[in-house]
Amino acid sequence: MSQTASTSPASVEDLLSRRRSPAERIQHVLHGNPALSPLIVLIAALIVFGIVSEGFLRPQALSLLVQQMAVVGTLAAGQTLIILTAGVDLSIGMAMVLSSLVMAKLAFGGMPSFLALLIGIAVAVLTGLLNGFLVTKINLPPFIVTLGTFSIFTALSLLYAQGQTIAVNPNSFLLVTGRSLSIGSVSVTWGVIFMVAVFVALGFALRNSAWGRHLYATGDDADAARLAGIRTGRVLLSAYVVAGLCVGIAAWIVAGRVGGADPNAGLNYNLLSITAVVIGGTSLFGGRGSVVGTLIGALIVQTFNSGLALAGVDPNYQVLATGILVILAVSVDQWIRKVKG
């Protein structure tokens, strides 16, 4: 008995020190940064599509890919906040459409672009405020609230735009998000830069500010957070308002992409933004996840989409492939997490 007691600790130390092989060191890093495991999926996807279609990894193609995900990415950043609080925002795409319509229509009507932009963003923040108010003050489930406001924002968009697309003067400041900036050989649009800025700001705030801690705690266990002295109502409301701000920025980016506004733009963005967040490893039950993960998730979704298009897959099989790939991506992610356990 004392035998075991004296030999075993050594074997534990063995076990602990054996955990130092390069592979295990990678595992250790992965363990500390759960967002990195979707990253592996992303890299794998890039490599596979790069092999399948030669043009895929050219800087120009990649820069297009990033431009295409700027809208979904920005929305998904806001969606991450909501999902971290154990909520979900089904209205986010339509809120963006409403906001971009307001921007475009005001600018079209002759208002200075800058003012039109500000009012449009204010509308987006208001949509967030409405969702947040209904969730925190009336105490309704976010799913229902945003399902309801989805209809409301849709109707308002239709009534406001009368079903028309709105084209803004191409030189308007509103469309700056569509203009490019050359950095070396790649050109990046301002829209992409804004998206990156949103991720940096949110990532910083979630990690380093008290507000971020409170958001995680509220999503993790709202009752516990409340008992610990967090004004959970206020934290929730702030999450919706900041998400509204992201929506406003996404609306600006979409305006730059379409040269104005289009009431049809929002349909897919609700589900796409949620998909990006979930593939990025954020739990739908709240409290666990990060915006870095979301960024990677959005990139994965866009990579699949563009990669399949580039590979020239028959449109009927593309849908099939997308479904299979989404499941595979998350399976691999799950497997990486389990291995590193």
């Binding site: 705690a217 516990a224 008992l227 409290g287």
Partner: protein, 278 residues
Amino acid sequence: MTTATSTDEQAGGNTAGSDETPVLEATGLVKLFGRVVGLRGVDLRLFPGEVLAVIGDNGAGKSTLIKCLSGAMAPDQGTIKMDGRVVNFGSTQDAREAGIETVYQNLAVAPALDIASNLFLAREIRRPGILGSVFRMVDRPAMRKQSKAFIDDLGITTLQNIDQAVETLSGGQRQIVAVARAGAFGSKVVILDEPTAALGVRETGHVLKLVRDLRDKGMAVILISHNMPNVFETADRIHIQRLGGLAGVITPKSHSMEDAVAIMTGAKTLEPDEQTLR
């Protein structure tokens, strides 16, 4: 304030109490859950610089009582006064701002956050300088260091990694995190609902020492516990709950542990003049 005084008063009986205003006073608290009676008209008086133990069988209403006092539940009837003024706590935050810090029996911790984040939840330390004031960055290293100190003070020596998520802690380690919070931030009143239930012998000793230290700093402490030796060793007065009602208030000097258990279980009833309401 000392036990001596309260024994003096005990002779005088329950009638008037001391001239001192209680820091916390509840009268006629009633709480019903549907047809289940949680509290059936309970009075409680807590004076600065004393440890008031609350004991009672399981389901006697101890937790319900302190939830009403700390704003976690609204009583159906009855009034609560702080420093003589009627208060109406809409939330635990209100109570906390009034100076009442509480550790609940079901440990209000955020499972996915690490120890330091939990300890400083809603009370984060900011970075010095512009990073803190403008960018509102929290000072993780400082919080981590102070957390380690708190935990060490409370005698937990087995904690191997201060960055562990609270959900991975052992039962006792988790409890210490919650207690350390209250100990570190309590201002006027500290309420502890069975803080030593999951603790080992030594750790229990440390927590009871913390309780006495708080009292010596002039705070008032409410301590719920099922451990009679601990209660009799630490409390100035003992509030006994029975079946949702108040069975009486005694002191360790005036009654024995056997008496306390007998009153708790209904084997013995307390005469009005036996009580020590102060």
